[in-house]
Amino acid sequence: MNLTLSHLIALLPLLIVCVTVIVVMLGIAWRRHHVVTASLTTIGLNAALVSLLAVLTVTPIRVSPLLLVDNYAVLYMALILIAGLASTTLAHAYLEGFDDQKEEFYMLLGCSVLGGLTMVASDHMLSLFFGLELLSVPLYGMAAYAYRTRLSLESGIKYMVLSAAASAFLLFGMALLYAESGSLAFADLGARLTEGGGHASWLLMGIGMMVIAMAFKLSLVPFHLWTADVYEGAPAPVTAFLATVSKIAVFALLMRLFMSAPVTDIASLHTIVAIIAFLSMMVGNLMALRQDNIKRLMGYSSIGHLGYLLTVVVASDDLALLTTGIYLITYVATTLATFGVIALVSSPWQGSDVASLKFYRGLFWRRPYLAAVMTVMMLSLAGIPMTAGFIGKFYVLATGVEAQLWWLVAGVIIGSALSLYYYLRVMVMLYLHPTEEEQYDASSDWGQRAGGIMVILLALAVLVLGIYPQPMIMLVSSAILG
């Protein structure tokens, strides 16, 4: 294969992030400087984001057998880069008080973003695995970045051990699929599946093992046990990154795999994915009811949300890709702003995060804007109309109803009803009168920090998308057509 200019343009975002990581590494080697390192990362990620406009002129294009850069990939690349930028902004404010080497964080973040970009463009098992590992391995280091605190170290190790187990499942599944189909490309695999015959049970087992690995990364029941601990222990900007980038990349890839290899036509797999979705909605929301730690609460609520989204995989119809895009955009905006507020309240780092719910008591009387942002986010997560979360949930319900998946529709409704309790509980906490206990606050100049501006912008975006979602719907539908 010859690498032409249009191939290089298609790879531009990947190349720019790659160069950013190396420049940041050499910058650290030359002289350590927190602000410069953070700025370099921000510039690099922004440049990659801008380069997506150039990529749009050459899509769809296949770069080597491994990567397929189409509009679908570009949409999710943009989401990943925005989430990466938001995490960088939060990390800058957060790490100011960190009493160890701060700069390597941005290197790990860049590598992880690179993995996510590779994943959403991958059309081949090899690039899938490569992207997934490049996404996950830096995340172990990021989760354990404040490694002198017990919780952070614990979350890093837990995530590493369980992720390694999931990778083993993924590899074994791929090996079985390769043994049966003789190809690692998604398209060939799909052709082999529809053809059927022979050793269909081995194919099924291979797909099943891959689903286990993906379900682990998406923290779906029964592979969810790590979620709450990792969310709680990891520093808040890392949790924001983990809850967005890793979920977007894995889900976008899962949809691409299932669209090119229509495995959900197989009855048994269809049933299993539906059961996983229903259980995730129930278990995630029920477990979140009793949490007093806002990061754990968000962890369990993310299990529920991914359960809602999995309805789309079960349906696998024309509406599915549109719903995935819309739901992921709204979920990412909301999650980023929620963890943004948590990170800002915990910034600068002082030994651990401010995550216990009682420290948010009366936040409104001290930091009205921050509390307002949190309120909008809780409403959006609960799916109240006028917020982006409602649009996402509406599309999930529409997909479920159209595919006549009544059990899952019932699950979404029951889950939403349950979730109202804990989301509103957080909101009530924000407006109660503060107690006399010691208070933990965002440092008073938080509004001047880039992080503060960012969460306000995200909150505005959530409101605007909730009231006027048409541009977002147009964007996503144009992305899935190309």
Binding site: L3, I22, I28, A29, D99, T149, G351, S356, Y440
Partner: protein, 144 residues
């Protein structure tokens, strides 16, 4: 494909799994039932009729050994990738050469980074460090 056909196709795997489990169970139970068991003070030592071990098995090695081992493995594996390029150097032409050059320069950048952060120094310069083992902050204790 119905169940009977699947069974016909995969029965040997099932038999193998059952046979493995059966063999393990047989070996453990049979030796427990038939074999004698001697008890004694010296039975508990690591080498029953050998040299009495001295000291603890939990020796502490300097973390530097692991660091060097890791760096060696990383650069060794990366050098192995170059063999793939070396055998096809004529076929890949200029594109291959440029690719390999970029790869080698990235490795060089990594090496510079390693040496600058002191990963290659056997005896690191003593840095002025605060007491950085964090006690749980007050707010954590308040939770309990």
């Amino acid at each position: 494909m119905d169940l009977a056909a699947q069974l016909a196709q995969n029965w040997s795997v099932g038999v193998f799994i059952v046979a493995v489990l059966a063999l393990c169970t047989f070996m453990v139970t049979a030796s427990a039932l038939l074999g004698g068991r001697a008890w004694g003070h010296n039975k508990e030592t690591p080498y029953e009729s050998g040299i009495v071990p001295a000291g603890s098995a939990h020796q502490r090695f300097s973390v530097k050994f692991y660091m060097v081992a890791m760096l060696f493995v990383i650069f060794d594996v990366e050098a192995l990738y170059l063999f793939g390029w070396a055998i096809s150097i004529r076929e890949t032409g200029w594109t291959g050469l440029i690719g390999a050059t970029i790869f080698i320069f990235i490795l060089l950048a990594g090496l510079i980074y390693d040496s600058r952060v002191g990963a290659l120094d056997w005896v690191p310069k003593r840095r002025v460090q605060p007491d950085r083992v964090h006690q749980p902050a007050q707010r954590d204790q308040a939770d309990n």
